[in-house]
């Protein structure tokens, strides 16, 4: 495997109409408008629906717990389930995810225990799970920085001859950061097996997309890096999954990175401490609530007679189970050891930190 690739990039601008395979009304889009993608099999669509519904229930529960003061903060992904779950289901267990604070439902869906997952937002420790076990990095707060980690990891895997891909989520606001540009460019030059999912939820806290870019779409940028770019309806799980599957396949095959912009909407406030009434109207939110990704897929599945009462019961039960487990995990007061503050700063023990640890210990004993 070499970083020294001679291939001439042949990429064009993405279609300015977001790719969708199932429309707002839950009907399959005609083949000629599918931009060469196929509707995933019904079993896959059912699994997408199931995971999104469970994620919605869980996200709602975590927001409620945050309102009750059980968590310090929680950035909800309500309304963005198609992007998050469509992406995660297109990944294999070997692929790595490099997420942001926004992407907790993706991490939950990847199998991270909610108690570990929410340690950061509860304020116990910055990051609670073992990234290597779940092949999921820490949630990045400094915007776009994680995109470079994804490219580095992917490049190392490629140099080592391992056929995996990495995925990173980037917000529309974060797409203005220099690290986004550097990550796209490094990935292009090194042909890194990384798929960038730009979750365009149209807001960076209060700032709308129109203040971030003059570009037609964020996916338009891809051509400048010699990378294929897709502009996808981010509330259509079928489309996100189809595009992501192809992009991941391509990356694992050794054909390089892809940029996938998913157009969606942040239905909740930025976090619990945000006041969205200052920058957007209830009408806007209502319009987007009407384009709900879960309802859309549900309509399609119902039209195909693919969602039985038993299916619904199982999904509801699983959602409730996850919610209850999370309530329980968040109600137990964590036992924190202040001595841990010094334990992980370095691998190699530092005399000065041993001194400071003893100082804190003595203070506690007074």
């Amino acid at each position: 495997m070499s970083l020294n690739v001679e291939t001439k990039p042949t990429v064009g601008l993405p279609d300015p109409e977001p790719l969708r395979l199932i429309d707002d009304e839950g009907r399959a889009v005609r083949s000629s408008a599918r931009q060469g993608f196929e509707l995933p099999p019904v079993a896959t669509l059912k699994e997408l629906y199931r995971r999104m519904a469970i994620a919605r229930r869980w996200d709602t529960q975590v927001t409620a717990l945050t309102r009750q003061g059980r968590l310090a903060t929680y950035p909800s992904a309500l309304g963005q389930e198609a992007c998050e779950i469509g992406t995660v289901l297109a990944m294999t267990e070997q692929d790595w995810l490099f997420p942001t604070y926004r992407d907790s439902i993706a991490l939950m869906t990847r199998g991270i225990d909610p108690g570990e997952l929410l340690q950061g937002f509860r304020g116990d420790w910055h990051s609670g799970w073992d990234p290597k076990k779940h092949r999921t990095s820490v949630q990045a707060t400094p915007l776009a920085t994680q995109a470079l980690h994804a490219v580095g990891y992917a490049t190392a895997a490629k140099l080592n001859g391992e056929r995996i891909a990495t995925v990173t989520f980037i917000g529309d606001g974060a797409s203005s950061e220099g690290d986004t540009h550097e990550a796209f460019n490094f990935a292009g030059v090194w042909q890194a097996p990384t798929v960038f999912v730009v979750q365009n939820n149209q807001f960076a806290i209060s700032v709308p997309l129109s203040k971030q870019t003059r570009a037609r779409t964020l996916a338009d940028r891809a051509i400048g890096y010699g990378i294929p770019g897709y502009y996808v309806d981010g509330n259509d799980a079928a489309a996100v999954y189809a595009v992501m599957s192809r992009a991941m396949e391509r990356a694992r095959r050794g054909d390089g990175p892809t940029i996938v912009e998913c157009l969606t909407y942040r239905v909740e406030a930025h976090t619990n401490s945000d006041d969205p009434t200052r920058y957007r109207t209830a009408d806007d939110v209502a319009i987007w609530k009407g384009k709900d990704p879960i309802e859309r897929l549900e309509r399609y599945l119902v039209s195909q007679d693919a969602l039985s009462d038993a299916d619904r019961d199982e999904i509801t039960a699983e959602g409730e189970r996850k919610a209850a487990a999370t309530r329980e995990a968040m109600s137990a007061e964590p036992v924190l050891d202040p001595m841990d503050l010094f334990a992980h700063v370095y691998v190699n023990e530092r005399p000065s930190l041993v001194e400071q640890r003893e100082f804190l210990k003595a203070e506690g004993n007074r």
């Binding site: 609670g128 990095s137 400094p142 470079l148 980690h149 490219v151 990891y153 895997a157 990550a183 370095y346």
Partner: protein
């Protein structure tokens, strides 16, 4: 492994040998940055490495420092040991966020589950007649950041040994290379192992005053000690080598002996590394001190243009003068 008879080699050559030996010994070591490939780096520290080990071990990356360090974070997470180069001190600043927010914090954030064994090489400090932005001393930014290890050799033997240790370390290391010492020679047989990271070294014994120096100012301090002999002033010189962790024991022992100390560095004084040295030595050794600890450093100005840098850099004359006019007797 580079094995040579004792012969004079430059610091650049010692660093080159250290990188070569590390790449040869450990298949996870990779080296990349700006111009480190066919050119061998603007200071030739990576000279010949790409030709010897190929483009998958040593390569030219796109020109973006945040990208270089950020991708190295990902590579280290994978299990590689990247050694990346920032071309000049001031050009490490685009990578500041990656270094401070991720390189320094990953192991702590993950409760020790993810270590980042990586080395960030930074050609540092001035004295080479570089035009603006080529002569900064950025050490205080890094030493102020918990999670980083910061070293700065002053001679070829230490350069080799500290580099080998830095690459083997499971903690990320900021490796500062004093540009003005790149071409200084020392008789060394390779491979060489000197004192480990975290250890300072008394490089000249004396009884009247301790000069605490690192990187480029070690030579200045030694020259000062030489000149002071004529005035019957006995100067002890400490080469810190490792700025973080800091060797309180060696510095403390020396100060207890001499009762007087001055820190010499090129960086500006205010909020500089010398302030930390002065403060911690005072806290620990106040009883043994006969005078306040002096800082003989660059002025609190942006690094000057080449024709004025001689007025900025601490010289033996300036140090001797400072020692001579230093009031430490009680009135």
């Amino acid at each position: 492994m580079t094995t040579t008879e004792a012969k004079p080699i430059t610091m650049a050559a010692a660093l080159n040998a250290a990188l070569r030996d590390a790449i040869a010994e450990d298949p996870t070591v990779v080296v990349y940055g700006e111009d480190v490939g066919p050119l061998g780096g603007v200071f030739r520290v990576t000279d010949g490495l790409q030709a010897e080990f190929g483009e998958n071990r040593v390569w030219d990356s796109p020109l973006a420092e945040s990208g270089i360090v950020g991708t190295a974070v990902g590579m280290a997470m994978y299990g590689m040991r990247p050694v990346v180069e920032m071309q000049f001190d001031a050009f490490s600043y685009p990578a500041f966020e990656q270094i401070v927010s991720h390189v320094a914090k990953m192991h702590n954030r993950t409760k020790g589950r993810v270590a980042l064994p990586m080395v960030i090489r930074i050609p540092a400090s001035g004295g080479i007649g570089g035009v603006e932005h080529h002569s900064d001393s950025s050490e205080a930014y890094w030493t102020h950041t918990p999670g980083l290890t910061v070293v700065m050799p002053s001679n070829p033997a230490d350069a080799y040994s500290l580099m080998r240790e830095a690459i083997r370390s499971d903690d990320p290391v900021i490796f500062m290379e004093p540009k003005s010492r790149y071409w200084s020679k020392q008789e060394v047989a390779l491979p060489v192992t000197t004192e480990p990271i975290g250890t300072a070294k008394v490089v000249r014994e004396g009884t009247d005053v301790t000069l605490i120096a690192y990187g480029p100012t070690v030579a200045t301090a030694l020259e000062t000690a030489e000149m002071a002999e004529a005035e019957e002033l006995s100067i002890e010189v400490i080469d810190l080598r490792s700025l973080s962790p800091f060797d309180d024991a060696t510095v403390g022992a020396s100060v207890r002996k001499t009762s007087r100390a001055a820190v010499i560095h090129e960086a500006a004084q205010f909020g500089g590394f010398g302030a930390e040295v002065a403060a911690r030595v005072t806290e620990r050794e106040f009883y043994h001190l006969a005078a306040p600890i002096l800082r003989i450093t660059g002025f609190d100005i942006p690094y000057p243009s080449p024709k004025l840098e001689e007025y900025y850099l601490p010289t033996p004359e300036r140090i001797l003068n400072a020692l001579a006019t230093w009031e430490w007797e009680l009135p």
